[in-house]
């Protein structure tokens, strides 16, 4: 797939709650090609701080517009959150493989924390049951958006402040009946737990992983994960991997 580097104008930048933001960019060539599970790599500021680009999943597409959902966790995302509509960002994309959509149906989606970012885009194509998990009610993301995109939603929180009390991988166990594929994104421990559930119930699972990356285009070999076939690059052969191929 062809990649583009372009100046994307910020059309909207909205704080959702806490440290979570949504940013809409105009990026026609990328928006036209992007598939759920792919990402863009953003040069947040023109100078040396931060130096490297920062990767963000494509959260949604509408015409020539592309939406991101991000959490402020450090210097780069802090600067990103200060950017106003009208400013531009140097972005590269669409990167990575994305989810395989032709998989066996019906499929089920599992979103842990920020993992909701790529999964909302997926949910617009695979309208199904979405399990949304977070540490607390405050950290639940996109519950309304998933519903609006035509999905049913079940919730879990680690502290029980909303929905099922416990891990989203536990909630998954109670909701597997009738599904043939799992799509998941979230923190590594959650993905590992989902992989274990998938293995136990012999279901294929597509997991979207994160790893630190310097280039995002397959050149630096920074973002590797262990698979049965050896090391694979999250930015190129990933970020979506089959659970059965991963070595944790």
């Amino acid at each position: 797939m062809k990649n583009f580097q372009l100046q994307a104008k910020i059309l909207a930048q909205t704080k959702i709650k806490n440290s979570y933001w949504r940013c809409t960019l105009r990026a026609a060539p990328i928006a036209r090609l992007a598939r759920p599970g792919q990402f863009v790599n953003i040069k947040i500021s023109a100078g040396l701080t931060p130096l490297l680009r920062r990767p963000f999943s494509i959260h949604g597409i509408s015409g020539d517009k592309l939406t991101l959902l991000y959490e402020v966790v450090g210097q780069g995302t802090q600067i990103l959150a200060q950017k106003k509509a009208g400013e531009s960002l140097d972005i590269i994309g669409p990167l990575g493989n994305g989810f395989e959509l032709k998989s066996a149906r019906p499929a089920l989606i599992v979103a842990g924390g920020m993992g909701a970012a790529p999964l909302l885009f997926l949910a617009t194509k695979v309208k199904t049951l979405v399990l949304v998990g977070a540490k607390t009610k405050e950290q639940l993301l996109c519950v309304q958006e998933f519903k609006k995109s035509g999905c049913r939603v079940k919730i879990s929180t680690d502290d029980g402040s909303a929905g099922f009390k416990g891990r989203v991988s536990e909630l998954l166990k109670h909701n597997l009946a009738g599904y043939n594929t799992i799509y998941a994104c979230g923190p590594k421990p959650m993905l590992k737990a989902v992989a274990e559930v998938a293995k136990k119930y012999k279901l294929p699972a597509q997991l979207s992983l994160e790893e630190h990356m310097a280039c995002g285009i397959g050149a630096c070999l920074g973002c590797v994960v262990k698979t049965k076939d050896g090391l694979r690059r999250v930015c190129k052969e990933g970020p979506v991997f089959l659970a059965e191929d991963l070595i944790w």
Binding site: K2, N3, F4, Q5, K43, L48, T49, P50, L51, L52, R53, I92, E211, H212, M213, A214, C215, G216, I217, G218, A219, C220, L221, G222, C223, V224, V225, G230, L231
Partner: protein
Amino acid sequence: MKTKLSVTLGRLKLKNPVIAASGTFGYAEEFKDFLDLKKLGAIVTKTLTLKPRQGNPAPRTCETPAGMLNSIGLENPGLEIFIKSKLPFLKRTGVPIIMSIASEEEPEEFLELVARINLIKEAAAIELNISCPNVRGKDNLISQDAEATYKIIQEVRKITDKVLITKLSPNVTSISAIAKSAAEAGSDALALINTLGGMSIDIENRRPKVAAGIAGLSGPAIRPVAVKMTWEVFNAVKLPIIGMGGIMDTASALEFMIAGATAVGIGTANFIHPGVGAEIAAGLKNYLLKNKISDINKLIGSLEI
């Protein structure tokens, strides 16, 4: 006005001095959407070893002030798979290919690699990476020892007519001393600098941010060190130098040439602006035009001090 941008490294003629540095340009194919590869003076491959290498565990990189640390550990498919699956694309670019190689255990591996590369017509030069800090179990690099440097280059020199480039480490007390050894042993050119040893620590879990612990620092943060070393080596030996370390744009490339580099290597900048090599090649030409300099070779080592 006519401007001459071509330079030579030994017998290797480059149409311009801009070289994509080893390990930062993949095998070039990764960059094809971002620039016209033909605009580059040369492309150096990721360092190759005889056998495939897995490299080090993740995380392998982290950002530091104006730079980055990496410990990839020379992950590469090995020479034979490279020849089958990566070389055909590189050949089609028409750009001179510089084959970077390293030995994992025994220096003799270099000889086997070179013997095989001798048979590859399109390999315009061989770069001996005797300065990679990220090979586990090696706390001393060949390029930290003037005698070892001399010995390996001399042995390689005996068996090849290819242009021989030696890549030097900045992690030494005197880079000039090593450069002299390389020159005496028959190296045709020198590439410097490889990454500077560095560390970065996560204070929450008291672990190194890069899994291997010690890693290699690159990017603008190391530029002044690299410019200084280029100047030192330029004054110590007659060999052409490929200067690198933190080049981000035309201005920083020019610093190296004025300090004595015949060509410049673009490394970390490729990760950030994948098309930067072609931009710098064009920028060098504009600089010559603007300053009415007919030949870029006149710039080399033109520092007034």
